[in-house]
Point group: C2
Chain length 449, copies 2
């Protein structure tokens, strides 16, 4: 394990304890590799997805969003190569009929019963189901193993309706499903997962420029979210490991507890996908370029990121243990922009006199920020909880507040405590969350222990 | 068709033409009842979901969010009654083996081939698939037909980690799947759809109070989103139509082109779900109430809304045709808070002199608002497009702007045009989007034709 890293067990435990992530269907014993995001986890996930959408779709005039269905026409997966090619070799036990990944079983007998194993056979990783009332081949459909095909089959619709020209990106965030034989490492590899994918269509010949552009852009996105640069790297795929459709591919890798592993792949897919869909659908998927008076099949650059993996990397990178007054403090140093809860409103104790002021402050803040209110147990335990979920600011209301209408902001990272008038709270928190330097008004700023 | 209503065909056509909604996998001939949200549609959908999340989760201290997996342990659906009870009676043709809804076929022969039909048999509406490498009964799992069960099985985890007491709500937005025999009416009834569900857990005896509370709250939510009150109504379920688990149920209905139809159901489910899960899982799902020193199974009030239906109702309600200077103007009067694009930046013509100023304004606005830039075709056609996607404000840059650094805001609804300095743009649009009255500075305000 890299020595700057926390053990995965600590992350799994914190996630369960604080409401980031629970095992799915836990009261029924769980379901292999399925996880549920709890109250804190879903806010973190929403913030990551929103940050991606803002940087990719909202702030770019050359990218639009889309949201396509999980169940698509089966012809899509014929054309994409997933029906034939998206397979793993498995062996089956001749006695108990359990199946195993062939590459793990070389020359061994069944790990379950010791029985003899068959020769390897190909197993498709797509989940299949039946649409309509009849269970037969004609009604077989698949859960999409990637969101990308939704963009390829909609390119013409998007061009016709959006008044955009190439280069043009189409972006999507959504669930995908792969019947992995060996899921694992918490939420790193799961059978149900969420993707953030961009298909960026360009004129052939400009693809290498845009490939480089997106590799840099996407690497920097993780840094801007607060992941330390020394835990990130770019790895160029060797020609022998490139997927058949890819002309080039970089992985953005993160130093997970199990070693360097892929966060995102940025691939130059050339015209593979559109050509396949043109052939299989019989539709003309070429593009008329009015500037150069040419018609061509666009090339596509695909940055494909995992929501769950990004979230896991952010949790691992934010995890810190430190000594404070002889005790170990666990603190999640999440970038305030993605922290699940921005502000915790904490009356010093559960007291009828403090409740109206504290409640009023909560009501005022919660329409601007994701805010929580907590008046149970000691203030020390409540600070500890907020540290463990990464809340950047706690607002403490004490008995003096009733007299001077001032409250205390406690900062997660510096542990600094700053006292200020209630009417300055919204403006100050807004500035702090934007990362603006804190404008300490000399009239009221008093730094406390 | 109600006379205040647009025909569904006009909505479907506008959705396709302007990039709200496309038929899924259209280049392959489409896939029954599956739809894809285009660049404009996904922004509208995001805004609706965010508005729900803000009002239900962010602004309430007694509700937390969650995000559970689509594939859950099959025991969940045994306990919930979906494996046994979630069925429709079908008949099968003895010649061609197609199946039909029994209630449509009373005494008839097969509509496909004229063959004889079997007696009705029960058909389960859940999509089933296989998890893991072996396709057999033991590995059968289902795509969830509702998100609600994710909240019931996680109540204990949420209580243990969130430091909350009852009443406590758990909210989720996510996809659900039902193998409907007769989907239809555009995105009103589809096999893959998205839900916004709240399970609000309360002490028995307080359930009627909270049932009434949530019925009012949810009805008002649609009004606040801009749906006209005369097109909404509440309908109390008769005792004979209540689901077996429900003690009471109101539907929020909207006057769709096909008549009054359900947008959302608000049900008092009593302790049915938690009791079922306690029995099937063997886990104690009771709640210890420290205030009253009692232990009980909470009752649950469930407001369950459809994302796609809400979006369809908002589109229909916003659709207006009016005469402007002898031409028919189609305008979507969407509430600015949910409009897909808030601001369109439109240089008067595609001109190298206008581009730098217009581009700079786009760059400035797009980090604050969902903004689009369009410099193709005539300004009239571009206004028409923005009207049809419901953009509340267009910012027009003309040649005079290069001299006086002023631009024109054109308002979608009033068609008023207001000229103002570029540096006032962000502040003014922000105020207008919040619905604040427009602070017309007398120095520069000039109302144009």
């Amino acid at each position: 394990m890299p020595d700057n890293k926390v053990a995965m067990e600590k992350i799994v435990s914190l996630c369960k304890r604080r409401g980031f992530i629970f095992p799915s269907s836990e009261i029924y014993g769980g379901l292999g590799s399925c996880w549920d995001y709890g109250p804190v986890g879903i806010e973190l996930k929403r913030n990551i997805k929103d940050a991606w959408w803002k940087s990719i779709v909202q702030e770019r005039d050359d990218v639009v969003g889309i949201d396509t269905s999980i169940i698509m026409h089966p012809g899509v997966w014929e054309a994409s190569g997933h029906v034939k090619g998206f397979t793993d070799p498995l062996v089956e036990c001749k006695s108990c009929h359990l199946r195993w990944k062939a590459s793990d079983m070389d020359g061994k007998a069944c790990p379950q019963c010791g029985g003899e194993l068959t020769e390897p056979r190909m197993f498709n990783l797509m989940f299949k189901t039946f649409m309509g009332p009849v269970e037969e081949e004609a009604s077989t459909v698949y859960l999409r193993p990637e969101t990308a095909q939704g963009m390829f089959v909609n390119l013409q619709n998007v061009l016709n309706t959006s008044r955009k020209k190439l280069p043009l990106g189409i972006a999507q965030i959504g669930k995908a499903f792969r019947n992995e034989i060996t899921p694992g490492n918490f939420i790193f590899r799961t059978r149900e997962f969420e993707q953030m994918e961009l298909e960026y269509f360009v004129k052939p010949g400009t693809d290498e420029y845009w490939f480089d552009f997106w590799v840099k852009e996407r690497f920097n996105w993780y840094i801007n979210l607060g992941i330390r640069q020394e835990n990130l790297r770019l790895r160029l795929h060797g020609k022998d490991e490139l997927a058949h459709y890819a002309r080039d591919c970089y992985d953005v890798e993160y130093l997970f507890p199990m070693g360097w592993s892929e966060l995102e792949g940025i691939a130059n897919r050339g015209d593979y996908d559109l050509t396949q869909h043109a052939q299989h659908s019989g539709k003309d998927l070429s593009y008329y370029d009015g500037d150069s008076n040419e018609r061509y099949i666009p090339y596509v650059i695909e940055p494909s990121a995992g929501v769950d993996r990004s979230l896991l990397a952010l949790l691992i990178d934010a995890y810190h243990e430190e000594e404070v007054e002889g005790e170990t403090r666990v603190v999640m140093r999440l970038n305030p922009s993605i922290a699940p809860i921005k502000v915790a409103v904490l009356p010093l104790s559960r007291n009828k006199k403090l409740a109206p002021l504290a409640g009023g402050i909560y009501q005022q803040l919660c329409s601007s920020f994701m805010t929580c209110y907590d008046d149970s147990q000691s203030i020390g335990r409540r600070y500890r909880r907020q540290d463990e979920i990464g809340t950047p600011f706690c607002v403490t209301i004490d008995f003096q507040s009733l007299e001077d209408n001032q409250v205390t902001i406690r900062e997660r990272d510096s542990l600094a405590q700053i006292r200020l008038p209630v009417e300055e709270l919204d403006r100050t928190l807004r500035a702090k969350l934007k990362g603006e330097s804190f404008d300490v008004s000399p009239l009221w700023a008093t730094r406390q222990k």
